[in-house]
């Protein structure tokens, strides 16, 4: 690892500050591909419903690695690198499809079964007794890299590592329970959008774990009491630091709190009311008064419940200073027409134009640009101390520190 040698040293074990070279360094970025995305982690790849029937497939990415996720004839889900063993071309070109019986590379027509095994080579025996592959060429020794898959509550995760723990152990009981809380029923996808962000992927990973910023950057939240730091709630951080779930509980006493006004924080704007309040006409569909739950699974998965706006987000790195965020909005198969309409309206809260999420699209870029020549400086993330523990306040950066704890562990830096 040369990055740490070329740059200011990152004190061992320090997670309450990160050096800005971590968002800028090419060698670090390459190492992340190997040690994080291709390492002992579970990467979210798609929904179980996306590959419902044998032959259904989707193409996506694990880090920057293109992958195919497909339901095999045996009903199992397989994932393998979307790279032909011959000359490295993409095997599947579309976003997905159905009824696939095999995959054939367009370049020289090498063919793969649904498990990613190389099965056919065009002109393997040559033509008219001439050419062809050498007799000792063993197809079973050539093929795209295969990934392990795990399905949990309708979410499909993939890992290149043989050492990754079972998904339940990887998540831990608490995070597992928080996913189950939202995903108990068959889901129905209602929209998919991609947001291209002008920042390193880690800036978004941090942002989504950052409970401190939510009601300060996002005025819409504070004004309409969807969430404020003075509301009830907290943050759970997994043992390894990598996963988190933050939540707010509707607390009736909150209307009297004047802490925002007292501190002169911009988020408070008392006169602002919706002309059509049906946007926030929410129901407690999970029966626990939790209005908002944001959950992450290291390195790049987000499950979001903001009132009745439900979505999964997939964080994909696209170079040092670029990333894509894939949004999948969903409801449930048994949604009533009223609930369906409610979800369509509340989808305004999230996504690239979200009333409470659009700022997250630009704020990472503000950091990326702000630290342009500050590679040897460190961020400060000491709200709530220096630890990464679960807490009952969201005025803490514990879960962001948790991200860096897991990051340093996986990176070995």
């Amino acid at each position: 690892m040369n990055a740490t040698e070329r740059h200011v040293a990152w004190p061992e074990g320090m997670v309450s500050g990160a050096p800005y070279w971590a968002y800028q360094d090419e060698a670090t970025y390459r190492l992340e591909q190997k040690r994080i995305f291709e390492g002992a982690v579970w990467n979210y790849v798609c929904l179980d419903a996306d590959v419902a029937r044998p032959g259904d497939y989707r193409t996506t990415f694990v880090g920057e690695m293109p992958v195919i996720v497909v339901r095999g004839e045996d009903g199992e889900i397989y994932a393998f690198e979307n790279r032909c063993a011959h000359r490295g071309a993409l095997i599947a070109l579309d976003d997905g499809g159905s009824n696939a019986r095999d995959f054939q590379c367009v370049y020289h027509a090498w063919t793969y079964d649904l498990k990613g095994n190389l099965k056919g080579i065009a002109f393997e025996e040559g033509s008219n007794g001439q050419g062809g592959m050498p007799r000792d060429f063993a197809k079973e020794k050539h093929g795209p890299r295969k990934l392990h898959t795990a399905t949990l509550f309708g979410l499909v995760f993939a890992s290149l590592s043989d050492d990754v723990p079972p998904i339940e152990d990887y998540l831990g009981e608490e995070i597992h329970g928080r996913i189950e809380r939202v995903l108990r029923k068959p889901i129905r996808v209602i929209g998919r959008f991609t947001q291209a962000l002008p920042n390193n992927w880690k800036l978004y990973a941090e942002n989504v774990k950052d409970t401190y910023h939510a009601s300060l950057l996002h005025l819409f939240f504070g004004t309409f009491r969807i969430t404020r730091l003075t509301q009830g709630g907290g943050v759970l951080v997994s043992e390894d630091g990598g996963h988190h779930a933050s939540y707010t509980i509707d607390a009736p006493g909150d209307a009297k709190s004047d802490e925002y006004a007292r501190q002169g924080i911009r988020s408070e704007s008392k006169g602002y009311r919706l002309a059509d309040p049906s946007l926030l006409d929410s129901v407690d569909e999970f029966g626990d008064r939790i209005q908002l739950q944001i959950l992450t699974v290291f390195p790049g998965f987000v499950l979001q419940q903001i009132n009745n706006a439900l979505a999964v987000r997939q964080i994909l790195p696209k170079g040092i200073g670029r990333m894509e965020l894939n949004w999948t909005y969903f409801g449930f198969e048994d949604d009533t027409p009223e609930m369906r309409k409610r979800r369509l309206k509340q989808a305004n809260l999230v996504g690239p134009a979200g009333f409470v999420s659009m700022e997250d699209g630009c704020v990472g870029g503000f950091v990326q640009r702000g630290v342009a020549t500050a590679g040897d400086e460190f961020s400060v993330m000491r709200m709530g101390g220096d630890a990464t523990q679960t807490d009952t306040t969201r005025a803490t950066e514990a879960s962001v520190r948790g991200f860096w704890k897991a990051y340093r562990t996986h990176m070995g830096i």
């Binding site: 209602i190 929209g191 959008f193 005025l219 602002y272 894509e324 989808a347 009333f355």
Partner: protein, 163 residues
């Protein structure tokens, strides 16, 4: 206009005027005028061609009342944080597709360039407006529905200003 008088404008030219006024309001930053192009219970949705083709109902923006559109603009003015930017709409000629009750269905292509405060200009979106247009009580053409279907499913950074 002299002795020849002015012939009643054709439907087509009225649609062209509507689209031009709509684009001009947004591009001039006169966002408060934007909701007024819709009927009281009009629908505006911003989505993509893939979602539209697959029958996915959710949009990047979704409003089923003029008041929701007004809320969009209030949020834009008061709440949301984004870097200063403008749009330039280039709107194509409308194709009238069908008469529906007292209104018409039409389709019009658009191209939107986004101009950032530092001068960066990008093709931000291209697509088509799928419209259901009716006259309001005063005889003005208004949108009962305007579905802005972007050709691409990918949005750069954020969408603050409506398309």
């Amino acid at each position: 206009m002299g002795s020849m008088g002015v012939s009643a404008p054709s439907l087509n030219s009225r649609l062209i005027e509507l689209n031009a006024a709509y684009a001009r309001a947004i591009d001039d930053g006169n966002f408060e005028a934007w909701p007024e192009f819709f009927l009281e219970d009009g629908l505006y949705k911003l989505t993509s061609a893939d979602n539209h083709a697959q029958g996915m109902e959710a949009g990047v923006m979704y409003a089923d009342s003029r008041n929701m559109l007004r809320d969009r603009i209030s949020a834009l003015r008061v709440a949301n944080i984004y870097e200063r930017q403008r749009y330039r709409h280039i709107v194509g000629l409308p194709s009238v597709l069908a008469s529906v009750g007292s209104g018409v269905r039409s389709e019009t292509s658009f191209l939107v360039v986004r101009i950032m405060r530092d001068g960066t200009m990008d093709v931000f979106a291209t697509g088509r407006y799928l419209d259901l247009i009716e006259e309001d009580a005063d005889g003005n053409l208004r949108f009962r529905e305007r579905i802005a279907v972007c050709d691409s499913n990918r949005f750069d950074t954020l969408v603050a200003i409506p398309l």
